[in-house]
Symmetry: C2
């Protein structure tokens, strides 16, 4: 499979994107990559490395879409950006998938306009794949792309998320939960009450009912369905608590004297493992579901490992043709 | 000030509620308490303790509203419960405030029906007061009472939260933020976009703009305004991440050999401090704003310290007449 790697727009681009692509090439022998970005910069990074040249191409692109660019305008105006040129190449059949750490809004709009929506899809969703306490993963549909959802969209989200978990995580009947303010069936706001009824009636979905946000990361559901505004709030609040706790631990160690410092040194491997486990690096970012082609979002602060994991995931999604499986699921 | 303590309905009731009331009596010499619950049970707990009998009464109540009771029905049917009898006593002027760890829904409905809403208040809000990274507090308005808010309600929430922070935390011009999916003014769903415009125009509110959920606990705002459904999701997700991280630390220590166990012993005071700081115990629970009287919700798992802090807070709110200040703020 051929995966385009957008080497612009992330915090540590192009360096870490290129390094991640080389890791991925070493890891997957069936993979080839197209590095989209400023040719001279990419070549200069590549020159210091050994890799299989037959599986690497460069797509020269001189413009950059930054995280401060207004998404719609950036997609329309910056036609020479690595992001837009990459999406066009993908659309034209020049590759099987794309990974980018650029502006999420631009990827969503660019993906929707350039790649197009799958048959039966109302709107594409941006779906973080989250690590859980139980060493499983939960996909959040939607994580922020659609901030004003119709109830019917939530049913689409359930189908799309289930198709992803079936294909990529090998779960034959993924548990679908509805993010809600209580576990009981009668709980919820107007939107989730209607969605609950709709999901109960839906064929082909293993709907387990409402899931409270406190179980966001405990793995009770494989697919967590939510309006993107709420999904974004829950995800960001959860990340916020994570960084507050690590800051407090650091502060406690700094002011805790020798005892705390020694304790930290001994506990360091444990804390580092946890930080790694719960960070996006291990997972490889979020996926866009509902588009005609595979598009994976690596987070803006991605380092080489995160890019590598995102690329491997994109290859996996392309091999299993997740976009087609989603359309099949929606039109059954 | 006389504060009613509902000694039923919490996980460790009546024992911890009574113990908390005795702590509070020792702490505040201006306080007197009314313990509402089964007289025989309360007297048996009291008999083992020394306290100032002139400042303690018992309100005998034989029924209990459990957390499984449907709130509206419970308030209507369980007229002999400590919760309903306590609220009636408060309404009739027999006390200045009430603390309860019982069913939140029953407190909200009972509070609204029995105590009544302040003049100009559309709906009461349930507002957790959260500890922050900066050792300040942020009040979340609304934390889950109103799951389908009108935009105008969000403005009311801003006024109510600001009045609370002014009176209880002594902040002369509390910073009011709107919980949103991005910091920029143009971000948001239909509701928050309208609310942003409304709050920008509002007199007497120090509106600092949108606040992302990742800053939920960093103290950038003193008052965080949100629809109760979103507020609940953000709060629960944040709590969920906290307990996941502590579970992972525990698991890492258990499987990390002697080094990790020794490290833990040395770092224990630091971790315990953090757990205490970020738990509800130190804060004393959530407050209901918008009612005619002071009503504080201690969380269901409250121990004596949490009850004590909630009681002291209720006395403080009654002394400063927060309900009246809210009405003044709304009708300015």
């Amino acid at each position: 499979m051929k995966i385009i790697v957008d080497c612009q727009g992330g915090d540590f681009c192009p360096q870490e994107a290129v390094a991640g692509a080389l890791y991925a090439l070493a890891k997957s022998k069936t993979l080839s990559v197209v590095l989209a970005g400023v040719r001279a910069d990419i070549e200069s990074i590549l020159s210091a490395n050994k890799y299989d040249k037959s599986r690497l191409e460069i797509l020269d692109a001189q413009e950059v879409i930054t995280c401060d660019d207004p998404p719609a305008l950036a997609v329309r105006r910056k036609k020479e950006s690595s992001t837009v040129k990459g999406l066009r190449l993908l659309k034209d059949g020049g590759a099987d998938g794309m990974v980018s750490s650029a502006n999420t809004g631009a990827l969503l709009i660019g993906g929707t306009i350039i790649l197009g929506l799958g048959e039966g899809v109302t709107r594409a969703a941006m779906c973080p794949v989250m690590p859980t306490l139980n060493d499983t993963h939960t996909i959040l549909v939607d994580g922020g792309a659609n901030v004003d959802c119709k109830v019917e969209q939530l049913k689409e989200f359930a189908v799309m998320g289930a198709a992803y978990m079936r294909e990529i995580h090998g779960i034959s009947s993924p548990k679908v939960g509805l993010l809600n303010n209580g576990a009981e069936a009668e709980k919820g706001n107007a939107q989730t009450k209607s969605a609950h009824a709709l999901l109960c009636e839906a064929d082909g979905i293993n709907f387990i009912g409402n899931v409270e946000a406190k179980d966001f990361l405990t793995g009770v559901a494989d697919v967590l369905v939510t309006d993107g505004f709420v999904g974004n709030a829950a995800m960001k609040a959860s990340e916020g608590m994570g960084s507050v706790l690590f800051s407090l631990i650091k502060r406690g160690i700094m002011s805790g004297g020798l005892r705390a410092k020694l304790g930290y040194l001994m506990l360091k491997p444990v804390l580092r493992n946890i930080k790694h486990k719960m960070s996006g690096d291990a997972v490889g970012g979020a996926v866009f579901l509902g588009l005609n082609k595979v598009l994976v979002k690596a987070h803006g602060a991605s380092k080489a490992t995160a890019f590598c994991n995102a690329i491997i995931k994109a290859e996996d999604m392309a091999e299993r043709d997740v976009p087609a499986k989603i359309v099949q699921g929606l039109n059954k």
